[in-house]
Amino acid sequence: MDKMPAWADVLLVPLVSLILAAVLSALVILGIGENPLEALNYMIQGALGSTYGWGYTLYYATNFIFTGLAVAVAFHASMFNIGGEGQATLGGLGVALVCLALPWPHWTLALPAAIIGGALFGAAWAAIPAYLQAKRGSHIVITTIMFNYIAFALIIYLLNNGLKPVGQMESSTAKFPEGAHLPTLHDMLAVIGIPFSKAPPVNISLFLALAACYGVWLLLWRTPLGFEIRAFGKSEPAGKYAGISPTKIIMIVMLISGGLAGLMAINTVMGEAERLVNNSVQNAGFIGIAVALMGRSHPLGIILAGLLFGFLVQGGAELAFWTSIPTELIVVIQALVILFTGALDNMVRMPIEAVFTRRRLAQAGRAENTPRTPGNSPPPTTAAE
């Protein structure tokens, strides 16, 4: 199985994919008549050049860590949860209902309740596709896509009928009570005397996301259930033979996945907007797929990938602000990252594997002195020795 060392799998392959995506992105920027280096400079300045920029980068990263974890947990059970978008939308509903239910006296009380609300609603939205997959064999990818669209329609309906305060024009809920206001990073760092920009919405949810990463790591690699999930993911027949119930695993994994996606709403709905608006997720559910792929479905990788995508979104927003490049550039970059780290993974992996295989053979002294042509990609059959 070991075609290449672990470091190559974890670092080299994603890095090469990322470079390929970056090169193509640069070509796209050139194609629309702009300077890629200048664009990169604007992005770095805008996203990382100040605590203001960092604040937004971390805010977006928080969203992507949640949705990335959601996709990753499902990936470990060999399931593709493409419904993070809908689950996070419903999570927003859960958070909003909790926040509006009581005149919360303090965020320390409101936050745990909102966590339960967001996770519960997100999990509930994943539960139906999970049940249909487990019991009726309906393909989870298709059902979760359908549930995304059902969720959008449901939220628009609810916002216009019932959730919107009487007499308000804009379709959103009322503003949450003062006591549901989460401390921002500015507030928290001020306590220990570190100055941080007041404007960005990054808040305590960032630490909740990091805690979720730790929780997922514990679950997957330190509990019997996590072992069952990963075993089931590697081989369903083997898992069944070992007495693992597919129904149980599918249900549990999808509930966790949906719950994690729902938790994203703590950051956006409770932390930033402080009311539920339409389209509060803004593609974060889909970007979670890229984050999970990039991070190799490992919590640590997801944190790094989440930061990268947070940087892209914030940098892209600044880029659009200072130049004539629209923010859609970031969507293209995200697409290229998904393409190279996900769909074209083998294109990057096979040549690298071949290089390592050849080197090992050479070291073992079994290889003939065949002329090495660096850079060419051998056919897949030689890589699969």
């Binding site: 796209v28 194609g31 629309i32 008549g33 593709f80 493409i82 139906i128 249909l132 009726r136 064999g137 309906s138 393909h139 990818v141 298709i142 059902t143 896509i145 359908m146 549930f147 669209y149 059902i150 329609a153 449901l154 628009i156 309906y157 009928n161 889909f286 797929i289 792929l293 004539s324 490049i325 629209p326 859609e328 550039l329 970031i330 969507v331 293209v332 970059i333 995200q334 697409a335 290229l336 998904i338 393409l339 996900g342 769909a343 074209l344 993974d345 083998n346 294109m347 096979m350 059959t381």
Partner: protein, 321 residues
């Protein structure tokens, strides 16, 4: 509701069902050959943009159509290389294609036309014009038949009739030709097809290319027939509705027509009436929007007949094990 209103709704049903039908048949070829395609949306969007852009620049809708098909084929090629050549995950490839189209269309539109990510409005030569059937005016006074012939059967653009013709054609190709038999076999059991000496890779690429052409026509129809020009995200989930229709139709051409007409009808009603009063309660327009998806989930759940996808769908073919 009077007869004229009813006819108008049926008329817009046909117009709204056409892009769904083309995209649905596109998905049919691809998925029957074992290549899942959730990138229908992105391909339509790319085609919509490039067809509108080229039709505007050249003033010829036909050149626009060709350009649209080209854009869609380009994305199909990416999907084919990722999922057939490099045996990547077909779903992830589809997600990437949807992202790519959504970003690139606006980026290029802004760079070319600087109108906020849209193309300028198309004028006469840049759009498909309706085809009037003979005697449409003459028999209009005849009750029922006249208005049906004039308003419903005649007066659509060429692509509408093309899409309708594609249904029997697809049925014939898939179920009555050797190519179709092989295409379906490659989606069920590629190893058997390979053993018979047929090139699995080439067959799957052909299917993906057919899918690209049909998605291209669907996208061009959106921008140059249904509307006059490209606007950001103009497909508005139609690729996913087409996917839903494909499952609803259980991967069969004639059922695809019925499913697309049904979903087109739902769209037409949602467009025409905002909320529908049925005696005691009101059906909100959001429910009409969500209905195609709800119906598909019900079908997928197997409560109303079972939708069984092609057996080798989504799995890359590895020649040697």
């Amino acid at each position: 509701m009077d007869f004229a209103t009813f006819l108008q709704i049926l008329d817009s049903t046909i117009r709204l069902a056409t892009p769904l039908l083309l995209a649905c048949l596109a998905g049919l070829y691809s998925e029957r050959a074992g290549i899942f395609d959730i990138g229908l949306e992105g391909k339509m969007l790319a085609a919509a943009f490039l067809s509108a852009a080229i039709a505007f620049v050249t003033g010829s809708v036909w050149l626009g159509l060709l350009a649209g098909i080209g854009a869609s084929l380009f994305l199909s090629a990416i999907h084919g290389i990722a999922s057939i050549t490099f045996r990547g995950n077909q779903l992830i490839s589809g997600v990437a294609i949807n992202f790519l189209a959504s970003g690139l269309t606006v980026l290029i539109a802004q760079s070319w036309f600087a109108q906020g990510g849209r193309t300028p409005a198309l004028t006469d030569g840049g759009r498909f014009s309706p085809i009037e059937f003979p005697f449409a005016e003459a028999i209009l006074p005849v009750p029922v038949i006249g208005p049906v012939y004039e308003g419903l059967i005649s007066g659509h653009t060429a692509i509408v009739y093309l899409a309708l013709l594609m249904v029997p054609l697809s049925w014939y190709v898939l179920f009555r030709t050797r190519f179709g038999l092989r295409l379906r076999a490659v989606g069920e059991n590629p190893a058997a097809v390979d053993t018979a000496g047929v090139n699995v890779i080439r067959l799957r690429f052909t299917a993906v290319a057919i899918c690209g052409v049909l998605c291209g026509i669907a996208g061009a129809y959106l921008a140059t027939a249904l509307q006059a020009g490209f606007v950001k995200e103009m497909t508005a989930g139609r690729g996913y509705i087409a996917l839903a229709a494909l499952i609803f139709a259980k991967w069969r051409p004639w059922y695809a027509l019925y499913a697309c007409l049904l979903f087109g009808f739902l769209q037409a009603i949602a467009l025409r009436f905002q909320n529908i009063d049925i005696g005691a309660f009101t059906v909100p327009v959001e429910f009409m929007d969500a209905l195609p998806y709800i119906l598909t989930v019900v079908i997928l759940a197997g409560f109303v007949g079972k939708a069984i996808p092609p057996r080798a769908g989504g799995e890359p073919y590895v020649k040697e094990r």
